[in-house]
Amino acid sequence: MSGAAATRRLSPTLLVGLGILGLFALAALAAPVIAPYDPIYQEATARLQPPSFAHPFGTDNFGRDILSRIIFGARVDLQMAAIGVFFPFVIGTFIGALAGFFGGLVDAVLMRLIDIILAFPFLVLMLSIIAILGPGLSSFYIAMALVGWVSYARLIRAQILVLKTADYAVAAVSLGFSKPRVLFRHLLPNAVAGSVVFCMSDAVLVLLSGAAISYLGLGVQPPTAEWGIMVAEGQAFLSQAWWITLFPGLSIVVLAFGFSLIGDALGEMMGVHE
């Protein structure tokens, strides 16, 4: 109803969300400039230092500066969130669009495939892929893409099923537009709104999956600074050095908060509910 009014003026929710994301993005871009220390530099004499002026967020068990690691970690985590969402989004959108548009056998086969993947224990896939391809971000992305597309495919398929009966879709067909044109120029742009909103909560999911994999011992390669792995590694020192886990943990929470806000605001703007 108020869609037109909402698009004209950015909602405060969106502004705060974008502000948070922008702050982290800025930190990531300017990491070498603003980080007070080298994120992998170990200072043997400064292990497990509590927050101080020299180290605002304290140091870890190697004497590395937590603040600097969080700033550099923003690079990895934002990249994880972006790539971890991008490929599932693209693949899922494409497959979902095909299934919804063509229906019939294509749809039946793809839907069974989706059922299988949904029923497949995520962890088996995650750990297997990482084991098969070797640990590292690219394996993580591949595993996320293999599983993550399903949600998008389902969302898009449902949307396309509705939209393809819309008058403008029928009109496009009746005007002799080719199938790819109808699908990709007319239906898809109108169908992706829900998925774009979902992207934001998915980004949170990706970050948390990365952290969970780190907890199980397979994540980003050391000594790379990444928030999830910092939390996981810091757990060993939970009771004596709370700052090792707290600050990267908070970073995840705040970034997730930012993503959620953006998702909420986009959803409101596009009239989409999850």
Partner: protein
Amino acid sequence: MKSAFRTSRLAAFAALLSLSASFAATSVAHAAGVLSIARNEDSTTFDPIKSAQNVDNWVFSNVFDVLVRVDATGTKLVPGLAESWSVSDDGLTYTFKLRDAKFSDGAPVTAEDAAYSLIRIRDDKGSLWSDSFKIIDTATAADAKTLVVKLKSKSVPFLSMMALPNASVLPKKLVEGAAADTFAEKPVGSGAFSLVEWRRGDRIILKKNPNYWDAAKVSLDGVEWLVIPDDNTRMLKIQAGEVDAAITVPFSRVAELKKNADLTVISDPSTREDHMLINHEHGPLAKKEVREALDMAIDKKAIVEAATFGLGEVAYSYVPKGSLYHYADNLQRPYDPEKAKKLLADAGASGLTLNYIVNAGKETDEQIAVLVQQQLSKAGVTVNLQKVDPSQSWDMLVTGDYDISVMYWTNDILDPDQKTTFVLGHDSNMNYMSRYKNEEVKALVEAARLETDPAKREAMYVTLQKMAKADVNWIDLYYSPYINVTRKNISNFHQNPLGRFFLEETVKN
């Protein structure tokens, strides 16, 4: 039944909501004399020949008994089920005299049972120890209490192997008669405790075995081995007083636990040695000078400080400190990254890049990796860390798909021969995957196995330790103790260097 279920559920909910009851109290509903021990992994089986894992051995030692035991110091063999034994002059025939002992079901332990158990570990298809016990030619019961074992060839370490929990004496009648895994579900042994229940993934419940030959000495009424995989949770569990003991305490937690007045942190010497494997077949690593340079470029003291929190000790020989024939004066190359850099340059290996396989999920290993990476960079060596899960790293080590990797070894027998053979003796595992080759060393390993004179034998092992160090077969990193923690009311909770818990001596006050 249904209404009973409902009322109890209602009661549970009421309690949950009011938060009045302390649930913690309900879960420590142990009988007074039952010792609960938290560990990080569950047992896998109760058939001793089908496991090669410490988690199983710990419990095997409680439930089963062996002919010969290793004492608490880990350096002497003492009588177990065998009261005494003798060795023939040619070293081929061993005669064991069994004491009057009973299995937990009341049946006597006979020489027949002992003979059967030894033949079984050698011949059974499911045995993981066949190779080690191939040396046995025959095992027969001369009479009800006399076991005669004939070896195919002379072997000094044989007696030590009899102390392996895997060679425990099992009741022939029960094992033979039962289907494959029935015995493993309801094991009967002659140890200090017997199995009451095994809740897989949760706990193993043992009770005191009244038929144990030394039952009078046993103070505990029972033992519970709880599985708590997460290190934090395990430590929190004992801090909350929900268990009596927690084992494998991470180094990082020791300082904090020591501050807790309710807890006792116990540090027992072990045979564990952490070392860095080097793939001798990979390019410049074939050169002794390069390996020497790496040894010099690694600051073991810093590793001991940072990764073991000062609880370990810098290692300098593959024979662990405190164990048989350890050579205390072995060479220790000083930490000198500059010299290492020069050595590398001289050997034409400047700008060396190494692929370092790290065992994922091992806190200390990951920390060492990060430290070593930085230390070696000071000597101009680039290290690429590759974190993989332990099963896979094992595979990569076997196929030689690595340059360096940190592994550890704990002895399970008292004699140094086993480790020496695996590490230096060119056996089928490529000298512990290092691909180290030195014919002279190999010959000496063979000779040491057959030498019966302890003094001569010690000399041979000292030489071996020196030669290995000179060749840098690997880089010794550190020795570390077993660190366990108990509540203050627990006493005599100890592990010997081979890992055996002496729970028959433990007291819960």
